[in-house]
Each structure stands twice: as C-alpha cells, then as structure tokens.
C-alpha cells in the first residue's frame, strides 16, 4: 500500500517536472496603441488569438500612441525601455527611425509571406513599408457632413463644397494642424491630387493654400482630439467636420449618428507597428509581429473597425462586421467606390516641411 502510494507520488512528481519544462515562464508584453475602438479591434483580431496560442504570454494594452514619440525618446534617453511594441504613424516612425530609437525591419525576413508565397515586401501595398515601420491598416481623413443642415436636393458631395460657404453655409470643424487642411485647400482650388505636394513645396503654393483657407476662416472651429469631430457633428454645432473614417463609421453605424461621409479627396495614410530598440522582450515581440501582421490577422481586424488591411492578399478576405453583420468591404477607404479621388499623404513631405508649415498655420490661426 505504502509502496504503491510512493510510486504514485513519484510518478506525479515526474509529470509535474515534465509539465513545467514544457510550459514557459509567464511573460507580459506591453503593446502601445491609440485606445478606444482601435485598440479593441487589435485586442480581438491580434492579441486574443496570440495569447490563446501562447498561454504563457499576457498582452497589456497601453493607450499611449498619441504621445508615443516623446515617450519613446524619454525612455531611450533614460536607458529604461519598458514598451515592447508601439503603434504609430509613419511620419513619427521616420523621426524615431532617424534617431535610432526603434529597430530597423528586414521585411522579408521578419514578416510572413502571403498564403500564395508572395514575399511580404511585395504583398504589402506599394509605399507602405518603412525602414522601421510595418503598416497594419490604411485609414483616411474624410469630410463628413450633417444631412439635416442642408436641403434634400442640395447636399454637399465634394471637397469644393467645403469651401463654398454661399451654397453650403454653416460652421466647419477642422483639425488644428496644417495636414489635410492645406491639401484640401489646394485640391479645392483645382490642383490635381497627384501634384498637391509639388505645389505645396513652393512658397507660392503655400500662399495659395492659405488664401483658399482664408475664404472659410470665419466659419471654422478647430478640434484637437479625434473624438471631438463626431461630437461636434452629433451636437449640431457644425455642418461639416473632418474626421478619421473609422471613428466616423463607428459614430454613424454603431452609435446611429446622422451624418454622411464624402469620399472625394480623402487623405489616405498608413498606421502600423514599430519596435523600440532595447525593448525587454525582443524575441517574443518578433514572434508576435510575424503572427499579427500575416494575411489572415490583418483581414480579421476589418471585422471590428472600418480600416483597410495593408496587405493586398488580405483584401479578398475582408468579411462582415463581427457585431453588426454588415458587409465591411464598401466601408473601407480602399473600396473602389470610395477610392476615386484619394490624396495619398506624403510623409516625407510632412517630415521635411512640417515644422515650417505648422508655424505658418499657427500664425494663421492666431490672426
């Protein structure tokens, strides 16, 4: 009896040792993103499946992306990098990359190929991959309006209408930065979308853009935080508002706000991952990146938010919204019906001319 007990005890001890050898020590990854609906979509499309496949990993969300550049530099200078992975805009990623505070990425080495074997560098949409930057989504800044603000037979439909206060009166909520506003001013003034940045790089082009903005200046309310734009529309404070297409989708389709999107002149930009240099869990982060940026995962994210996947191979896999059951493809910025006159944001231009134009814009706002 007692020897039997001993045997059972011994064998269970052996199995415990064997188990603990197979399971790894628990690790937590700190992933920094934009919060709100966007982080929620990443949680469901990327984090949860990854944690399911790797039970020892816990992913902690940090909503610090809005100030990620400053925090990353501070962490790096203090020699204490606590973030594992950061979601940021490509222009910020370029600055961080120039400073050497994030890792350079070998795209074909570190990222999964498409299911048909196309290497990552060819599968991601042209121009989206950066030296240190891996895109997840295409988002766009769009013009939206309140249909109730205008008669049924005279609804606005283009960026030109934003600058037409005679036929489309009412206040306009624009973001308090030169980006998008200057592009639209030139576009509405007749510049071809492909030539906007060439024109904007000349002093005459800048003058022209500001002169166009002058025509609606008295009707502008500037917003700072992304959530303000849908709020101003919902409260009836403004007739037009610029906003991120995902937030507007959320406000219109999920919250039931009365508003419509004008896809004309949508300013298209990427958003994606960067890896801080000297992060605490580099190897695991690379494993996560390989998983979270593959074709299926990027397509999955579109179930939860209306941002387009950054891989060509993901587009056919985009299905229905997980909770609403509506077909997501027509709500993507890249859907053919929406992508008829896009302005592709030129990050190099903004990194180069941003300082100067922001000063000029701030001066213009104060006048």
């Amino acid at each position: 009896m007692s020897s039997k007990l001993k045997l059972i005890g011994l064998s269970s001890a052996v199995s415990v040792i064997a188990l603990s050898a197979a399971a790894q020590d628990p690790v937590s990854l700190t992933v920094v993103s934009w919060g709100g609906a966007y982080t929620a979509s990443q949680q469901r499309a990327y984090h949860e499946p990854f944690m399911e496949a790797n039970p020892h990993v816990t992913i902690i969300n940090d909503d610090g992306s809005a100030n990620a550049l400053a925090s990353l530099r501070a962490q790096s200078q203090a020699g204490n990098v606590t973030w594992d992975l950061v979601d940021m805009l490509p222009s910020d990623a370029q600055l961080a990359c120039d400073e050497g505070i994030i890792l350079q990425i070998d795209h074909d080495e570190m990222l999964a190929p498409a299911p048909d074997g196309t290497p990552a560098s060819e599968d991601f949409l042209p121009g989206s991959l950066g030296e240190c930057f891996i895109p997840q989504i295409v988002y766009s800044t769009v013009l939206t309006f309140r249909p109730g603000a205008f008669p049924d037979d005279a609804q606005p439909s283009s960026i030109e209408d934003l600058f037409d206060t005679e036929n489309f009166p009412g206040r306009r909520a624009l973001q308090d930065r030169p980006g998008t506003n200057l592009e639209w001013a030139l576009y509405a003034d007749g510049v071809d979308p492909d030539e906007i940045y060439e024109v904007l790089a000349t002093p005459e082009g800048v003058d022209r853009a500001f002169a166009k903005l002058d025509t609606i200046k008295d009707d502008i309310i500037f917003w700072t935080e992304g959530a303000q734009a849908p709020q101003l529309l919902a409260d009836g404070e403004v007739a037009f508002a610029t906003g991120y297409n995902g937030r507007m989708f959320d406000a219109i389709e999920v919250e039931g706000m009365e508003a419509a999107i004008i896809w004309d002149g949508q300013v298209v930009e990427w958003d994606g991952w960067v890896v801080p240099a000297d992060g605490p869990n580099e190897e695991l982060v690379m494993e996560y990146l390989y998983f979270a940026t593959d074709t299926q995962r990027l397509a999955d994210q579109a179930k939860y938010i209306s941002y387009g996947p950054a891989r060509a191979s993901s587009a056919p896999l985009v299905g229905e919204h997980a909770d609403l059951g509506i077909d997501m493809a027509p709500h993507m910025p890249t859907a053919p019906d929406n992508y008829f006159a896009p302005i592709v944001l030129d990050n190099d231009f903004w990194v180069d001319y941003g300082d100067e134009l922001r000063e000029r814009f701030a001066n213009w706002m104060l006048q």
Partner: protein
Amino acid sequence: MAIQHATSEEGAIGTATDSRGRLVTSDGTPLRRALERANRRRKLTALALVGPLLAFILIFFAFPIAQMMWRSVDNPQIVNALPETLNALEEWDGQGIPDEPVFAALHADMVADLDRPRREQKIGPLGIRLNYEISAARSAISRTARAVADFDAPYKDAFTDAHRLWGQPELWRVIKREGRPLTTSYYVAALDREFDDQGNIVKRPENRQIYVSLFGRTLALSLAITFMTFVLGFPIAYYLSTLPMRYANLLMIAVLLPFWTSLLVRTSAWIVLLQQQGVINNALVGMGFIGDDGRFSLIYNQTGTIIAMTHILLPFMVLPLYSVMRTIPPSYMRAAKSLGARPWTAFRRVYFPQTLPGIGAGGVLVFIISIGYYITPALVGGQSGRMISNEIARHIQQSLNWGLAAALGTMLLVGVLILYWVFNRLVGTDSLKFG
C-alpha cells in the same frame, strides 16, 4: 515643566565653575560644549524633518528645471556628426558654396558614421536638427546618407546631384553657425527671430511669427482670469466669513466641489453648457431673448477659455480671501460706522485694506497657475483662446523639438519670476496670506 527645569538649571550655572574657572553644567561638562551639542542636535532634528522634502524637491523639481534650461542651449548634433567638415569649414568665408575639400570632409564624416553601431549613428539626429533651421534638410541628409558609400570624387558634384540643398549656401551657413556645442538658435526662434545671410538676428517673416504674440495673449488671458476670479470670489468669501461656522463649512464644500471633480469632466460640462446648441443658448432662444440665428459664440474662443478657467481656478482665490476675512474683527467696521463713516467709506477705508494680503495671495496663485494651463484651453479655446503652454506641449509631444520647447519653457519661467519680483517690490510677499 521643561521651562521651569531649565531656569532652575540656569540658576545653578551662575555659581558652578570648574577648576579652570569655566562655566559648567550640573553634571560637570563645560557649558559651551553642552550648548554646542544641544545646538547640533536641534540642527540634525531640523534637517531630518526637512530632509525628505528637500531631497524630493531637488530631485523632482530643481534638477528637471536645470535640465530643461540646459536643453534650451545644448547643441551636440552637428558637432558630433560632422567634426571633419567643421574643421574644413573654418576657412570658408560664408559666401557661395564651399570648395571640394569641405565636400571631401563631409564624405569622410558620413562614411565614418555608416560604420558606427546603429544606436550610435549621428547622421539621423543631424538631419532632424538641421531641419529645425531649414525645411527639407532632413531628407537631404537621409537621402544622401543612403547613397554616400558609392560616391566618388569629385564629391562636390556627387553631393549636389544627390540633393539640391547641398548646392545652397544657406545650408552651409547653418552648419557653420550651429556647429558649436551650445546654441542660441532656440531662443532666437522662440522670440520670432531668425538669422539673416550675414548672421545678424532679424525678425521672421510676419506670417511665421507666433510665440511673442502668444506670450502676450497668455499674459492678457491670465490677467483677465485672475480679475474674474477676484470679482466673483470676493463677495462669496465675504459672505462665507460672516456666516456662523456651521453654515460656512457647508457652503465651503460647494466652493471646493470643483476641486474634487475631474478636470476633464468639468471642462466637458462647460462644452455642453456653452456651445451654440448648448443649454445656455437654447434657453436664451427658448425665452425669446435672441433669435435662432443670433446664438452667442461662448466657446471655442477666448470667452470659452476665460469662463472655464475662471470656474476651475475660483477656489484658489476664495480660500485665501476667506481665511483673511475670518480674522478681521467685525468690531472694526462697527467702530468705523460709529465714528461717522458711511457703509461704503467704512468698507473702502477700513475693511478692504485688511483683505489685501488675501487678494495678493489669491491673485498670485491664480495668475501663476493659469499662465501654465493647457488642457482646458486646448479643449475650449478654439483658435483664439490658446496659450503658450499649448505650443510648448506640441513641441514636446509632437514635433519633438525639445530645444525649442525648453527655450519657451525657460522664458515662461523667467517671465513668471520677474512678475513675482515686481509684485514683491510693489506689494511685498511677506504680507501674503495663503490660508
């Protein structure tokens, strides 16, 4: 008890002396040493009491401020990245484009950088630094750095082919001017000035001037807010000070309530109240005071900033006023009236002067706090209700131009110190009563 004991000892000292005629205490130690020991113990106790806070202030307050001031002049990027080029530029007179040896040195500097480990590369920070002075300098640097390993002599042509900026004397003037470990250029920019071709400091083109007028506006808004808190706070504080303690405490809770509510909640509440389709405008339209198209713009402008910040900062004015008014005996006013003063004269000549320490303390508190405020102006200020701190925050968080942010912050700090000094000369800070 202790005092009595001490006096009795003193009494004993008068007679006790040692063999050499020195005064001693009752246990025989020389008095001087006993006093020294007691003194030292008192100093140590004082230091132990103050020490933790002193250390805290030094580490988390004085040190960061010193670091901020250092950052506003610190300028290592160009010196670190281009040592050879700067040497070669010594000879250059600042006119036209430099000659081949300078370009060869530039090539050597950039190639040397390619061999450094990535974290220690200097060319990236160099591009960001130069871009503060000349737009597009960053892409000139980074585009060149990608190709520089394949460059052949003559380097002058190779560089000017790689990016047009290398052929512009302005870029070279900036490299030569800023190729020093310390710089004044952040302060020059913070004062809306720039360097001209000859290196003189001149005003910026009018359409790029922002900071000086923002400083002026910040000052004006802060004064307006301080004045508003005084106008609204003085009667409340007076009324509270005349009430019995029981009711005064109850009403004080109402004054302090804003303190216990989240700043963002309070600010959002003002948005709901003040916007054109908000509670106040709707009520006015509903009662027929204004037409539907005559709604007031109460928010997203200076009015919004002043209203929201006056509300938020009101307790800082009421509390010092209240604590001062509590100590003014009501008998003074009665005495003034019994001596023939009319109520207004009695208030003006007897009561009001005694509240000045409270007004001074409340005013200084509100003014200094509001000068550095930035969340509320960012949310309700629109384009005309912004303050200098919004620009500082932008340079810290978004443009990452910490040098300029530090210069603006230092100027703000020095400005506040000067105002405080002036205030001290005029009113005297020793007469302030904070509560």
